[in-house]
């Protein structure tokens, strides 16, 4: 089996897992943890596309670091935004209360 076929199987499997997780109604895990898991899976899929479909695994280490940084920073920033949002929602006085 070629590397390309393996990469495709990984992408399909991760997508099916994400679809199954998305189809489950009701929170089994805390919302922030769910966001974190979804973002990690998305980042792994994006990284698989870049490395194996685009062939970046043979590019220079500088490019590989740059694209990895893009995914880590994007997913990390989105996670931080959601985490901050849920922290504010859990403590509404912090979000809307009067300043002391």
């Amino acid at each position: 089996m070629t590397t390309l076929v393996k990469a495709w199987i990984v992408l399909v499997a991760l997508t099916l897992a994400a679809m199954a997780a998305g189809a489950v109604e009701g929170a089994r895990v805390p919302a922030v943890a769910q966001v974190g898991i979804v973002l990690v899976v998305a980042g792994l899929k994006a990284s698989t596309v870049l490395r194996y479909f685009l062939g970046l695994r043979t590019a220079s280490s500088g490019w590989r670091v740059l694209f990895a940084l893009y995914l880590v920073v994007l997913c990390g920033a989105i996670f931080a935004i959601y985490a901050a949002g849920s922290a504010l929602a859990a403590y509404p006085p912090l979000a809307s209360g009067p300043m002391p």
């Binding site: 390309l4 994400a18 899929k45 685009l54």
Partner: protein, 196 residues
């Protein structure tokens, strides 16, 4: 300005011998990578903007997201990663000196299927009374997915061109743009459809 044969040769020679610095180390024509890096920045900003807007109005976003067709969004992810696989396999065949066209055409066909499914999603939303003016969620949903779909049309056009001008560099160039769209969609799908 029309290019005379002499001009054209000098342009070709320039693009082949020009020093593109670090961009020269990437597959395909370095010019496409300037576009790809720009698109990654734009879609990254859109997804960050979507996340900030969601935190500012979680109730509207949670309620609106229930109207999205999660199954079709997931099916479209499977369609696009499979299309990316076929295009990558096509480039691999060309690098081995074999005919890549059947694989490329199959990959393009899946690109058309992606657009058709997106059309079904849009028409269902329109029929239910949701459009770009409904609220911030739908404004961003249509903006992000519509912008991506327009790029899919452009990607199909590029693949259609390199199907005929099928030098290895051209194929790598068209495929690089296509895989960028693939990568962007695997980020859009979970953030817009799945994260609650």
């Amino acid at each position: 300005m029309t290019l005379t044969p002499t001009h054209r040769e000098s342009v070709d020679a320039t693009s082949q011998t020009a020093d593109w610095g670090p961009l020269s180390g990437l597959p395909g024509n370095p010019m496409i990578w300037i576009l790809i890096l720009g698109e990654m920045a734009v879609f990254g900003a859109l997804l960050l903007g979507f996340s900030v807007a969601r935190v500012l109005d979680p109730a509207t976003f949670a309620e609106s997201q229930l109207h999205l067709h999660r199954l079709l969004g997931g099916v479209n992810t499977l369609v696009l990663v499979s299309s990316g696989f076929l295009v990558a396999a096509g480039v691999g065949r060309r690098q081995e000196g074999r005919d890549p066209r059947l694989l490329l055409l199959a990959g393009m066909l899946l690109g058309v299927v992606f657009l058709a499914i997106k059309g079904v999603e849009y028409s269902e939303l329109f029929a239910s009374g949701f459009d770009i003016e409904t609220n911030t969620f739908f404004r961003l949903y249509f903006l992000i997915t519509g912008f991506h779909a327009v790029h899919i049309v452009l990607g199909l056009a590029i693949l259609g061109i390199v199907l005929f001008a099928d030098s290895i560099e051209n194929l790598e160039t068209g495929a690089a743009f296509w895989h960028m769209l693939d990568m962007i969609w695997v980020m859009i799908y979970p953030i817009v459809y799945l994260v609650r």
